[in-house]
C-alpha cells in the first residue's frame, strides 16, 4: 500500500517538529530551495496533482495562472473542511501540521508568495492552536520568516479562524470572509489567481493538496505520476463514514475500486447489504450498490454518474432510507445557503419543504416531478456551485432509489384513504 501523506500519520508526537524532522520532515524543503521556483512549479505541473478540495483542478496549472508580475501575492490554505462526510484535513492538521507547513512553504516558494494564511474553520479551534504551535516551531528553526534557510526567500504564515459557515469553503467566499466580510461568494471572473485576497493574485488550495506537494517534490513528478490512472495521479485520502464496520480515513492510490476501499473500512456491518454510496461528499450524486466496483478516480466516478469531490465516501446499507437521508442533506443546504442568489436561497428551502412532506407521509405523486423541475430550475443557474450541490442528492436519489420515494408516497395515499 503506497502511503505518501499518511506514511507517518500514526507516529506518536508527529505534530512536534523534532519528531517530524526525525522522519525526514523539512528535508524536501531544503532541497527545493536549491532549485529555482519555476522548477518546483514545473514539477508540480508535471506530477498531474489535482486539487483535493472538491473541484479537482490541476494544481500546477492553477499556480501558473497567477497574474504575472503583480505583487504582493498571497497563498491561502483552505482548511474550512465542511463538506459533509469529509474529515481528512482534520486528521492531517491534528496529527501532522508540519507537513502542511512544509507544503505551504513549497507552494509559496514556487509561486513567489511572501504571505500565507491558513483559513481554518471556526469549529477547529483545537487544530488552530496545534497549527499555531507548529508555526512557532517552524519560525524558530528558520523555515519561516525572513531569508528562509539563507535562500533570501521570505514567508510569513498566519492562521485565520472562520466562524461557522459551510459556504466559506468556496474559495471566493473564503476570501471575502478572510477580508472581514460576510462569506458570500464573489463574481468570477476575476478568479483568485488574478484578483484574490485584497484584490491581489492569490493561490487557494486545499489542505490535502498542499500536503501532497511535499511528496510530489520529494519523489519527483515522474514517481508521483506513475501512481494512479491517466487523469488521476497519485494518492487520495478517502474519508469513509456511515454504515461500515471501521470507518476512518484511508490513503488509496487513485483508481482503486470503491469496493476495496469499503473493505479497508471493515466492510458492511453484520447482516447488512450495501444499498447506496456517496463517493465524494454530500454535494455529489449518490450511486446504487451496483456501481460499487467503480474505480475511485476522477474520470471513472464521473462516468458512473457522480464525482470524486472531496473524497468523502458515505456508505449506506439496506437499513437506510434514501428519502430520509436526502431530507437531512437538503436541510443542510438550506441552512448553509448564503442567501445571495434567488434560486438557491428559495430553491433549497422549497426542496426541503417538499421532501419533508414526503418523508412525513404527506407527499403527493406529483411531488417527484416537482422536485425534479425545481432542481432543473436551480441547475447551473445559481451564483455559485452550492446550488448545484444541493440538487445532486435529490436528483440522484430519485433516479436511483425511486422505490424509497414511492413507498413513502403510497403510505401517504393509504393514510389519506384511511382518514
Amino acid at each position: 500500500m503506497t502511503q505518501l501523506l499518511f506514511k507517518h500519520i500514526n507516529v506518536e508526537g508527529l505534530a512536534n517538529i523534532d519528531v517530524y524532522e526525525k522522519h525526514g520532515g523539512y528535508e524536501t524543503l531544503k532541497k527545493a530551495l536549491e532549485q529555482k521556483p519555476e522548477e518546483i512549479l514545473e514539477t508540480v505541473k508535471a506530477s498531474g496533482l489535482r486539487g483535493r478540495g472538491g473541484a479537482g483542478f490541476p494544481t500546477g496549472l492553477k499556480w501558473s495562472f497567477l497574474a504575472k508580475d503583480v505583487f504582493p501575492r498571497y497563498l491561502v490554505c483552505n482548511a474550512d473542511e465542511s463538506e459533509p462526510g469529509t474529515c481528512k484535513d482534520r486528521e492531517l492538521l491534528l496529527k501532522n501540521p508540519h507537513l502542511l507547513i512544509e507544503g505551504m512553504i513549497l507552494c509559496a516558494y514556487a509561486c513567489r508568495v511572501e504571505i500565507g494564511y491558513n483559513y481554518i474553520r471556526g469549529e477547529f479551534y483545537d487544530l488552530c492552536e496545534i497549527f499555531e504551535k507548529a508555526l512557532e516551531e517552524a519560525y524558530e528553526r528558520g523555515y519561516l520568516g525572513k531569508n528562509i534557510l539563507r535562500s533570501e526567500f521570505n514567508l510569513d504564515i498566519h492562521t485565520h479562524l472562520g466562524a461557522g459557515a459551510y459556504i466559506c469553503g468556496e474559495e471566493s467566499a473564503l476570501l471575502n470572509s478572510l477580508e472581514g466580510m460576510r462569506g458570500e461568494p464573489r463574481l468570477k471572473p476575476p478568479f483568485p489567481a488574478v484578483e484574490g485576497l485584497y484584490g491581489k493574485p492569490t493561490v487557494v488550495n486545499n489542505v490535502e493538496t498542499l500536503c501532497a506537494v511535499v511528496p510530489v517534490v520529494e519523489g519527483g513528478a515522474e514517481a508521483y505520476a506513475a501512481l494512479g490512472t491517466e487523469k488521476s495521479k497519485g494518492t487520495k485520502l478517502v474519508s469513509v463514514s456511515g454504515h461500515v464496520r471501521n470507518p476512518g480515513n484511508f490513503e488509496v492510490v487513485l483508481g482503486t475500486p470503491t469496493s476495496e476501499i469499503i473493505e479497508m473500512a471493515g466492510g458492511m456491518r453484520e447482516g447488512r447489504k450495501l444499498k447506496a454510496f456517496i463517493p465524494g461528499g454530500s454535494s455529489v450524486p449518490m450511486l446504487p450498490a451496483g456501481k460499487v466496483d467503480t474505480p475511485y478516480d476522477y474520470e471513472s466516478l464521473q462516468a458512473a454518474g457522480s464525482m470524486l469531490g472531496s473524497g468523502a465516501l458515505i456508505v449506506m446499507d439496506d437499513s437506510a432510507n434514501v428519502v430520509k437521508e436526502t431530507l437531512r442533506i437538503a436541510s443542510f443546504y438550506m441552512h448553509e445557503s448564503c442567501g445571495k442568489c434567488t434560486p438557491c436561497r428559495e430553491g433549497t428551502r422549497w426542496l426541503h419543504q417538499i421532501l419533508g412532506e414526503i418523508e412525513s407521509g404527506r407527499g403527493k405523486d406529483e411531488n417527484i416531478e416537482l422536485l425534479q423541475d425545481i432542481s432543473d430550475n436551480m441547475s447551473f443557474k445559481c451564483f455559485c456551485p452550492l446550488g448545484d450541490a444541493a440538487i445532486a442528492p435529490v436528483l440522484s436519489g430519485i433516479a436511483n432509489f425511486r422505490e424509497d420515494y414511492e413507498e413513502l408516497l403510497s403510505q401517504a395515499k393509504a393514510g389519506a384513504a384511511a382518514e
Partner: protein, 158 residues
C-alpha cells in the same frame, strides 16, 4: 457598556498584526470571537466597540456577525453542546442520541438549562464523520458517542 479586558486586548493585538494595517477589517471575525470568549456572547455594545476599533459601522459588524453561526448574540450556558446531525452522524442514529441528551438535560434543543450550565444546539457536519456520532462542547470534540458516553461526559462537567 462593553470594554475589552486586558487579556482580550493582548489577544486583539496578536490578531491585528496578521493583516496589512489598511486591511484591519480582516480581524473582525477574530474580534467577535474574542468578545464572545470574554463575555460568553456578543452584545450590541460589543459590536459597537468592534466597529470603533476597526473603523466599521456597527451595522456592518452586526451584518457580519449574523452571517456566521458560531457567534451568539444572546447569553448561552457555560457549556454549549453542538450536536452534529448531518448525514454521517444521522446514519449512526444521532437523532436518538440528541433526544437522549435533551432528556438528560431536561431541555429542548435550542434551550439553556435553568442553571445556565448547558445550551444544547443542533450542528451541521463537524468534520469527524468517520468517528460519528460526534458532538462538540465548547472547543472540545467528543466522538464515537453512545448514550453511556454522553452521560459520562455531561456528568464530568457538572
Amino acid at each position: 457598556m462593553f470594554a475589552f479586558s486586558e487579556t482580550s486586548e493582548k489577544e486583539i493585538e496578536k490578531q491585528l498584526v496578521k493583516y496589512p494595517p489598511e486591511r484591519k477589517k480582516s480581524a473582525i471575525l477574530a474580534l467577535l470571537r474574542i468578545a464572545q470568549q470574554q463575555n460568553g456572547y456578543v452584545s450590541a455594545e460589543a459590536m459597537e466597540e468592534i466597529g470603533r476599533r476597526l473603523d466599521l459601522s456597527p451595522a456592518y459588524v452586526e451584518s457580519v456577525c449574523s452571517f456566521y453561526t458560531m457567534y451568539y448574540t444572546r447569553p448561552v450556558g457555560k457549556y454549549v453542546i453542538m450536536f452534529c446531525i448531518n448525514v454521517s452522524c444521522h446514519l449512526l442514529d444521532c437523532d436518538n442520541l440528541l433526544e437522549h441528551t435533551a432528556k438528560k438535560l431536561n431541555i429542548q434543543v435550542g434551550e439553556t438549562t435553568a442553571d445556565k450550565m448547558f445550551t444544547l444546539l443542533r450542528e451541521e457536519c463537524l468534520a469527524e464523520c468517520s468517528r460519528a456520532p460526534v458532538m462538540r462542547i465548547n472547543n472540545d470534540y467528543h466522538v464515537n458517542l453512545t448514550p453511556q458516553k454522553i452521560d459520562q461526559i455531561l456528568d464530568s462537567l457538572k
